[in-house]
Symmetry: C2
Subunit: 329 residues, 2 copies
């Protein structure tokens, strides 16, 4: 199958490599010409030491090549950049093939999930799916066991995702609840920032585990109110992804939280990280959405207050901990 | 309040110290005279470097002192040892005060939760509660933020647990679903062994996160069939405790799993750990119970096969990963 792929960060490169190793012809688009030159000449990816483009994977800065005549279009760009990239795609040619999203976020102001953004930009007729769940690029390029979930409102799109992505070590479950899958993947990044903050404040692992539990609780409430299914949030693209991101002390969102706790402003912390911090972007969208839907999200609100209002992390943590004690649910 | 406490391992000592610091008079019983002497003379606990018995906490090897005339009895002994200890307690005096269990396990052969064991031994009239959730002894002795759940069929027992244990950094939620709380706390140790095994086999964090997710899924199915509530398993004494134990690479169950993956027999691994490995004990009970209730628990069964049947960890992991792909739920 011929697959067009948008976005050659660590995650895009890892999944595009997987597809190429699965026997597909993959055209990977990026806006960075130096990355194209580097990877097309057989050098390793800058974020994945030791891993070069496999046979069947070719990079380009020409979006047309990744869009025209492909049987499947996959994207791994940033949440904030998705709408613009899809508009460019549409300008070339509205896709007739299925489009698979692997980015995780909620759009600021509109509150749309990325699959909703794709539908809005590309039109209702386009078949959209998403791939989500606990998966590090570094595990995928190494072929280490990984389980993810393919979501789509259309059974045939889920089956197509399974057939092109799955192999012996990359297990792809299906789940028709595309809303739940999208919210799970997006919201966990906010909780990962909160976990990084508690780490930076010197709290222990018990505090982190409680925060993850209460975090999943509020993620589930919002996802439910926004049309997702509870079960989904307790699955791979919710609990699973949360477990991975919140316990990876080297992940961007977690590191960003540590820096905030150490007194850095959001901008200073982002500059140090040097890559998109999806949780910071999504905290704003999630809080906007929670207010609109009337859902209390105390952890998300605390992260928002620290990131966007410059509130003191320790005071926010204390305020969370001194809420009245009550029944767990 | 005068509180009798049974079991002076790291967890018993940490909680007994917390109670003493909360202003209670605590008599902590252990069978080890050298531990009594050491702690009563102001030396640190052997498993909690730097932490000595606070004012208000006194140790004894005389069980009568911890049982007679107390307003509350708390225990932190091993799951396998609980029935015997409670029989000794009953022999002295059937408690008229509430009894709080903090051990986590399911009894072999009977399939009883520890609160059921306590009820069976002490009689139906005894008020029983349990304290569970993600909490490391080392966090509790340091006063680092920790959230747990108090469970009991009786509202007054839950309220009593909250009133004696809770303080500014030790948050105690309530949950009347004592069955769900007991199963959550017990079953997560099995999944922690499985996570240790994948670590020992060289799998990555993505595999671990997926295993935790699928693990919580089968924990929930069993707990539900045995009379617990789904919600509880997604709370502190389920998801929360699972997150803590499975991500603490230094925890006993996790370490035990690593040793198994490296080729050690169960006995060799236990000898190296030198403390009770609750997950190994509970894997047997859980598998027995799952067969009786007709619940498929593929991860628990794999752990059982490795621990009790000496099966090869890599073959078991492969078998788990090559199960047919399907819908997530």
């Amino acid at each position: 199958m011929k697959i067009g792929y948008l976005g050659a960060g660590a995650w895009g490169f890892a999944l595009a490599s997987l597809l190429a190793k699965n026997g597909h012809e993959v055209i990977l688009w990026t806006i960075f010409p130096e990355l194209v030159e580097r990877l097309n000449s057989g050098k390793e990816h800058p974020s994945l030491k030791g891993f070069c483009a496999p046979k069947g994977l070719r990079l380009t800065t020409d979006l047309k090549q990744a869009v025209n005549g492909v049987d499947l279009l996959v994207e791994s760009v940033t949440s904030a950049g998705l709408r613009d990239v899809l508009n460019q795609v549409k300008h070339i040619q509205a896709p007739t093939c299925p489009v698979v999203l692997t980015s995780k976020g909620i759009e600021n102001d509109t509150g749309l999930t990325l699959t909703d953004v794709a539908e809005q930009v590309l039109g209702n007729g386009v078949k959209i799916g998403s791939l989500s769940g606990p998966s590090f690029a570094v595990d995928v390029v190494q072929g280490l066991p990984t389980s993810v979930v393919a979501a789509s409102a259309q059974q045939e799109v889920m089956e197509m995702i399974v057939s092109v992505f799955a192999n012996e070590t990359f297990r792809v479950y299906t789940n028709p609840d595309i809303k739940g899958v999208s919210y799970g993947g997006a919201l966990k990044n906010i909780i990962a920032i909160a976990c990084g903050i508690t780490e930076g404040l010197g709290f222990g692992m018990s505090a982190r585990a409680a925060l993850m539990t209460r975090g999943l609780h509020e993620m589930t409430k919002l996802a439910l109110a926004a049309g997702g299914q509870k079960e989904t949030l307790y699955g791979l693209s919710g609990m699973g992804d949360l477990c991975l991101t919140c316990n990876s002390t080297t992940s961007r969102n977690f590191q960003y939280g540590i820096l905030l706790a150490q007194g850095a402003s959001s901008d200073e912390a982002k500059k140090k990280i040097g890559m998109a911090v999806e949780g910071a972007y999504t905290a704003k969208s999630a809080l906007q959405l929670s207010k609109r839907l009337g859902i209390a999200m105390p952890i998300t609100e605390a992260v928002y207050n620290i990131v966007y209002q410059g509130k003191d992390p320790m005071s926010c943590a204390r305020a969370l901990m001194t809420r009245p004690l009550k029944d767990e649910f």
